[in-house]
Symmetry: C2
Subunit: 191 residues, 2 copies
DNA sequence: CGACACCTATCTAGTAGTAGATAGGCATCG
DNA sequence: CGATGCCTATCTACTACTAGATAGGTGTCG
């Protein structure tokens, strides 16, 4: 059953990039991990830049799907925001990895324009989803003192991405929890 | 006057690491930039890990100095927090670079334990300084609705670091400003 | 003073190893 | 047959790092 090699490549590559960054991973790492030669990777992804683009698109789709589920199941704005925080908390994996797009943002200089655009789109989508969640929260009263929803959204995205970074530096989830504590407190029972 | 080569090396290396990350810069880049051979760099810094450690220590000292000045000159807690935000905003350089420690946190996996410790210390110092500033703000009433100072501090550090990252991805300072807008609003005239 | 010794800061030339990428071949299977 | 998927072998460019030499400054001591 060799048909799922491409999927395995994406799976492993995502993990490695999230742990070591774009410039910190190589085709050699990837090849060894799934048991083929480096040359064979080029059959599936002509260049490293093609692989990373596929990585971002796949990741963005997966996260978008998760957030769509959250929109469907989250009864209040507060529940949605709490779910969003949980997504980033899980992605941190106890301090051993970052959200793919956090990792790639730091290596922005090495990325092709197409990848950079995909990265921006990911951030825009996150802010848009959060804006809607904060708008809902304004309406349902589930979050205390909601400011302009778009501003709350931009702040929340930056907060969770920064919280991941601080957690990564100390290989622990604790700094993440400390950073989002006040926001969670505003969410009441949902937090 | 060759005596300042070491200083030039640190200066250039800091800029390159902040633009391209730890794994995205090489002795070759550095050598070319200041006009010596790569071998000569090893005279000043035996290994790349020694260079990066020196980089962090120098950076941490400089920032600590700046914050100490801010503590002396900032009349209120709000003014101090506003100054802190400005430090990170300047470090972003219109989206072309990151705070050294933000950049290195993303490449944590490639760093030696000593460098990692220095990175953690940098974050701890930032939170400690911010905690004091929020305590002052509680006392002088210069910031609206201050929560537990230590929690406000952790959130603020994460916010500005994340805001930098989002700005970096779109090579612009605008996402940074959007992310800190609500915090700034809380600072009143000082923001 | 001047000879010897050491130090600083750089050089040229090279190491072994790794990077991503390419060309062409060889199975397997519908 | 011919596409698919992987291989071997190779390439060029670059990685951090080392060895050994050199030019020039500084200090010490007879």
């Amino acid at each position: 059953m060799p048909a799922d090699t491409k999927a395995k490549l994406l799976e492993s590559a995502e993990r490695i990039v999230r742990e070591r960054g774009y410039n910190g991973f190589s085709y050699a790492d990837l090849a060894q991990e799934i048991g083929i030669r480096t040359a064979s990777i080029h059959y599936h992804f002509r260049a490293k830049s093609d692989l990373v683009l596929a990585l971002i698109e796949r990741y963005a789709e997966r996260i978008a799907g998760g957030l769509a589920d959250l929109s469907r199941t989250g009864p209040t704005g507060a529940h949605r925001i709490a779910g969003y925080i949980a997504v980033y908390r899980d992605a941190l994996r106890e301090g051993s990895s970052l959200c793919l797009c956090v990792s790639l943002s730091a290596d922005a200089e090495s990325l092709e324009p197409t990848a950079l655009s995909a990265l921006e789109a990911f951030h825009r989508a996150g802010v848009a989803w959060l804006t809607e969640a904060f708008e809902l929260a304004t309406a349902d009263g589930s979050i205390e003192r909601v400011g302009v929803p778009a501003s709350e959204a931009a702040a929340t995205l930056a907060l969770v991405e920064g919280a991941q970074l601080v957690g990564r530096a100390s290989r622990s989830v604790e700094p993440f929890d400390a950073a989002v504590l006040l926001l969670r407190a505003r969410l009441g029972d949902a937090g």
